[in-house]
């Protein structure tokens, strides 16, 4: 038997090529499913009873009731959480380098009842709930390396506060609405995700792969209710 190290190396390289091929197959066929019809600008109105078609639900701790109310041109998405945490997401792909703007309307009906003094120093509070959260997801491979801008409406933290999650540095939580003086009122939010990403991650973003919303009240074991509407993503600066 004649042993040729070069041959063994060749087999090793073939093996490595097979791994790369398998990873590529996995990447192509198991990557987040982007809705082809929703490349570029997308506008989500909740004006029909089937407006939640295409949205996926992810349950963490109990189920938040997401439902389209009214079903007319004045319709909206209502999220009602009773000691529960679950969110809904929509796979939508756009390039924030070209179309950086994203906007939505939200209204808080009821904040989760947080104990006084649990959230004062600006540091990350793991066991906390928000009446309204809006996620912008920047997927990467593997998916656990994703980066995320999470906009929240918080009753206590000042507007513009940014929190870092010590367990997940790729998540930046930004207070986009603050206080309870606008309780029960629709608030319009418009964000430049390119600028936000560059500011908080220190580099230009890749593609946005999904957006998501969540209302949760599981950690405070209370009730929270919020409404969302007119989500528009991937448009240029006006």
């Amino acid at each position: 038997m004649k042993i040729k190290p070069k041959k063994i190396l060749t087999y090793g390289l073939i093996g490595a090529a097979i791994v790369c091929a398998l990873l590529l197959i996995e990447f192509l066929f198991n990557r987040p499913p982007h809705d082809k019809t929703l490349r570029g600008v997308a506008w989500f109105k909740f004006d029909k009873h089937n407006s939640l078609d295409g949205w996926e639900e992810k349950i963490f701790n109990g189920r938040v009731l997401y439902s389209v109310k009214d079903g007319s041109s004045k319709g909206y998405l209502n999220a009602y959480s009773q000691k529960a945490a679950s969110g809904i997401l929509r796979w939508v792909k756009f390039n924030p380098n070209k179309h950086p703007m994203i906007s939505w309307k939200w209204k808080v009906v009821q904040f989760p009842q947080r104990k006084v003094g649990t959230f004062t120093d600006g540091s990350w509070v793991e066991k906390d709930d928000y009446a309204a959260r809006f996620y912008v997801i920047f997927p990467r491979f593997p998916f656990f390396r994703l980066q995320c801008l999470e906009y929240v409406w918080d009753k206590d933290l000042p507007l513009g506060t940014v929190l870092n999650n010590p367990n997940f540095p790729n998540l930046k939580l930004i207070v986009a609405s603050s206080g309870d003086q606008n309780l029960g009122k629709w608030i319009s939010i418009e964000r430049n995700v390119f600028e936000d990403f560059e500011k908080y991650f220190g580099k230009a973003p890749g593609y946005v792969g999904a957006i998501a919303i969540m209302t949760d009240a599981d950690n405070t074991a209370s009730t929270a209710e919020a409404q969302y509407n007119d989500i528009e993503v991937g448009y240029d600066k006006k």
């Binding site: 990873l23 992810k58 997401l89 998916f143 656990f144 999650n165 367990n167 998501a212």
Partner: protein, 139 residues
């Protein structure tokens, strides 16, 4: 002839043993690495996509991932050393008797040795050594 004594030196330094050692080691390490990489990335990638929300990934996937990374960091050097020792032993069982056959045949040809060639119990090539010994006796 079979000899029972243990060979103390496992690494002979011959080119043949080097090649064999590399072959056995690579044959064990490359497929294991391929499978481990595929499983590692596929499982955690799929799990993360399934969970989707960063907080869910942070509190469910990342602790498991960190623990597995720690286990891998400790286990891989140990596994590599064990595989290397196994490869050394296996290569030695093949390269050792060949080395001995070549060396002792050389001595017999040169006339410095008369007796039969010894092969250790766990070594390969017993039948070859026996046939060479028969040839030597017929001479």
């Amino acid at each position: 002839m079979i000899k029972n004594d243990l060979r103390k030196k496992k690494y002979l330094g011959t080119t043949f043993q080097k090649k064999l050692l590399f072959l056995v080691f690579a044959a064990a390490v490359i497929p294991a690495t391929v499978i481990a990489l595929c499983l590692y990335y596929m499982i955690f990638n799929m799990l993360s996509i399934q969970m989707f929300f960063p907080e869910a990934i942070a509190y469910n996937v990342m602790p498991v991932l960190n623990k597995i990374n720690m286990v891998i960091a400790i286990a891989i050097p140990i596994v590599l050393v064990v595989l290397w020792l196994i490869a050394l032993e296996l290569s030695h069982r093949v390269a050792g008797p060949l080395y001995r056959l070549e060396k002792e045949l050389g001595e017999i040809v040169a006339g410095t040795k008369q007796g039969p060639i010894m092969v250790r119990r766990k070594d390969e090539f017993h039948s070859l050594a026996a046939k060479i010994n028969k040839l030597i006796l017929k001479r």
